[in-house]
Amino acid sequence: MRIIDLTINDLKQIVRDWKTALFLVAMPIGFTLFFGVIFGGVGGERDPRLPVGFIDQDGGSVLSTHLLGLLDASDAIRPIVSDESIERAEKKVGDEDWAAAVIAPAGYSERVLAGEDIALTIIVDGSTAAGSTARGGVQTAVTRLQGAVKAAQLSAKALESQEKSVDEELVTQALDNAIEAWREPPLTVSVAQSGITTEEDEGESVMATPYGQSSPGMMVQFSIAGIMSAAQVVVLERKSRSLQRLLTTAISRVEIILGHYLTMFVMIFVQLALLIGFGQLALGVDYARAPVAILLLAVTMSLWTASLGLLIGVLAKTEDQTIIFSMVPMFILSGMGGAWMPLEVTGEAFQTIGHLLPTAWAMDGIQNIIVRGLGLESALLPSGIMLAYAIALFALAAWRFKFE
């Protein structure tokens, strides 16, 4: 009961300061939305393909017209027909208005059909992700176009081998047929994601969400930031000798430690509950599809983060130190645990080290539910690892806890 009293007192002290709400709820929500926007969370109706300028100096020739059609059929890029000069096109690519610019030179069609090797000019900044994707999209379209030309040439050769006369009309017809065939290729590649479904589908799968990274990522990051104010309470109590005074009362040392620990646990758990609720109701992230698994993950996440908070409260001597001791682990644990960016984009060694941290397991556990569409079983290992961290950090904090 004394533990509860101490916890209620701590919580009142924390809640009175409106900065708490800012750090615990407003900032993570703001950043979740911000990263969601960056990674395509809004504007779902607009064409998501990368804009690529198409400058036709060949005056709407056979091949440049077919090329435009093939570029438009791409899943990665969308051509924007333009009559800009090359200098203006370079500027648009440089300013990232266009991911690339394709220039069909004058005489392109005539010379290629005559069997000459003429390259199309593409202006692209290959060092950017958009540039590299756009280059791939253009290359596919150009290869298919030249493939169609090759098919027409081979067809003409086959006709000639049968001593049939070949005129320009026949070549053009063969080219048209080949391009038409490329519009609906008979052999295709389909891409499916495990656990993902669409609104029409039924079953245990989960809806694809653009917030599948930022929602759990910001929860993981700001749960660590949130412990700062609770750790400051411990530091202030030690500095003001309140802890010493508490020892003269009937409350035991263990009860004092557990009281502060419970404060941190409750605070983080409430924070996570609010952020999960926001994710579910406002962002459409399906946390509710496996409520027991999410509850288990939220509890173990709160337990380990509270243990870290208690340890920070023990180690910090001043309020300034509390901020540094909270922020530095927040940056390291969030960055290396995959809260900012998927660990997939990092090297193998980084991924291995990242998975030594509880934050990576928290991300795995939550994403198993909301992105991969898995069930309670998939939350057990991440929860177990976070629990082990909670016990280890709590033991360390309790061992080093000083009352004066």
Partner: protein, 425 residues
């Protein structure tokens, strides 16, 4: 002289402070190190290191006895497991599609490539259709993208051969010529050879003349280091504004502690006291920027661009960050309010301003709102000037953001100083 004494005292106090050392220098360096490590800077001299993609192949394709046991599925499976792709893919074969999907579901593999039984038949049958399925973990994008690109290229070769044979067949029939299977096979084979030659030269594709836009570096350097350079620039901008605000907060702190009112009772003119404090704010931001630049140059080999544009970016950042700090603090009552502003408002403004750091490697995230939004905050203009400088732009290119930074800095400084003067002098 008094101005310098006051400034020096404030600078020394800040340099001894955990907050400046931690937030002004420690955290930005830490962030650079994390990103450097994340993108393989420690592991690879050439840059970007991406973990091998674990691929499971299910080859259900049935070889065609009439074509000497030809199997397109086997060729694809062997290609995915070839030495040539070993650096990118760790591919093995799975017994069944169900097993492969289950392995992806359980995160034992990244991607499953399921080749249908009728792939070879469909490749030869004029009416045949077939689909290779790529099944992957939804949290992954790069690995599945690589596998999809490789499989699509392979399929395009098959499709191209099939289309070429189909076009030849139609034209031969239309012209009343004899359609010999050998002729069609010959067409398909020649197309395949042309496609294979093209694939071998993809590094310098004969079909495309690839040019970089003017002002961009022609050669591709170490991408990991370039990325870390971008991150360090973002961190420098982000934390320079923190430092500007945090060091200007010293004025509020001294007022609160009673040392400023006591100082105002001495013969030192109030304008000298305020001037000294302002000098210390500028000096601390300069120290921070120079230390971070030196660290990044030494450890991450960051190339900061030509001296002219770089000087403009440095001057712009220092005056804007310091002036903005003075401006913000002049509106606040005490250090408690300042703490909230530094922790919350500056963080939000900073994240918006340097958002290009996060969008740099997201295809399609550049441009649009992510390009315009940062320009509503001062950090966004500083980031723009630094990005231009680091990308090798000319002084003329950096001039517009530099001009905006100077105008903003002058306005922030004038308002901030006027408000402080009104309050203390």
């Amino acid at each position: 002289m008094k101005i310098l004494d006051i400034a020096l005292k404030d600078i020394l106090r800040s340099l001894r402070n955990y907050f400046f050392l931690g937030f002004g220098l420690g955290v930005p360096i830490l962030m650079g190190v994390i990103f450097y490590f994340a993108f393989g800077g420690l592991a690879s001299e050439d840059g970007f290191e991406i973990a091998q993609v674990e691929v499971l192949i299910v080859n259900r394709d049935e070889p065609l006895a009439e074509y000497d046991g030809f199997s397109a599925g086997k060729i694809l499976a062997d290609f995915l497991q070839s030495e040539e792709l070993a650096g990118l893919l760790a591919a093995t074969e799975a017994a069944s599609a169900a097993d492969a999907r289950a392995a992806v579901d359980n995160q034992e593999a990244d991607v499953a490539v399921i080749i249908p039984a009728d792939l070879s038949t469909a490749a030869f049958d004029p009416q045949g259709k077939a689909e290779v399925e790529i099944y992957h973990d939804p949290t992954l994008t790069i690995g599945p993208g690589i596998v999809t690109s490789i499989v699509t290229q392979f399929m395009d070769t098959l499709v191209g051969s099939k289309i070429a044979a189909g076009v030849a067949y139609d034209q031969l029939t239309a012209q009343g010529a004899t359609v010999d299977a050998m002729v069609l096979q010959n067409v398909a084979t020649q197309y395949g050879e042309w496609s294979a030659t093209l694939a071998e030269s993809q590094g310098a594709s004969p079909l495309l003349d690839i040019r970089s836009p003017a002002g961009k570096k022609e050669e591709e350097g170490n991408m990991a280091l370039e990325m870390v350079g971008g991150v360090m620039t973002g961190m420098m901008v982000f934390y320079a504004f923190y430092t500007g605000a945090a060091s200007a907060m010293g004025i509020l702190q001294e007022e609160q502690d009673g040392t400023l009112p006591r100082l105002l009772t001495t013969p030192t003119p109030p304008s000298a006291i305020l001037g000294g404090k302002l000098v210390s704010v500028f000096a601390l931001v300069i120290v921070q920027v120079l230390v971070l630049m030196a660290f990044s140059s030494l450890i991450f080999k960051t190339e900061w661009g030509a001296p002219g544009p770089l000087s403009m970016a440095i001057v712009g950042l220092v005056v804007l960050a310091a002036s903005f700090g003075i401006f913000i603090m002049s509106w606040l009552r005490d250090s408690k309010q300042a703490g909230v502003v530094i922790g919350g408002v500056m963080t939000v403004l900073g994240m918006v301003g340097i958002s290009s750091v996060f969008t740099a490697n997201v295809p399609g995230a550049e441009g649009g709102i992510t390009e315009i939004l940062p320009l509503f905050v001062p950090q966004g203009w500083a980031m723009r000037a630094w990005r231009l400088a680091i990308e090798g732009s000319t002084a003329g290119d950096v001039l517009p953001p530099f001009g905006v930074m100077l105008v903003l800095a002058a306005a922030f400084f004038a308002i901030g100083v006027l408000r402080f003067k009104k309050r203390f002098v």
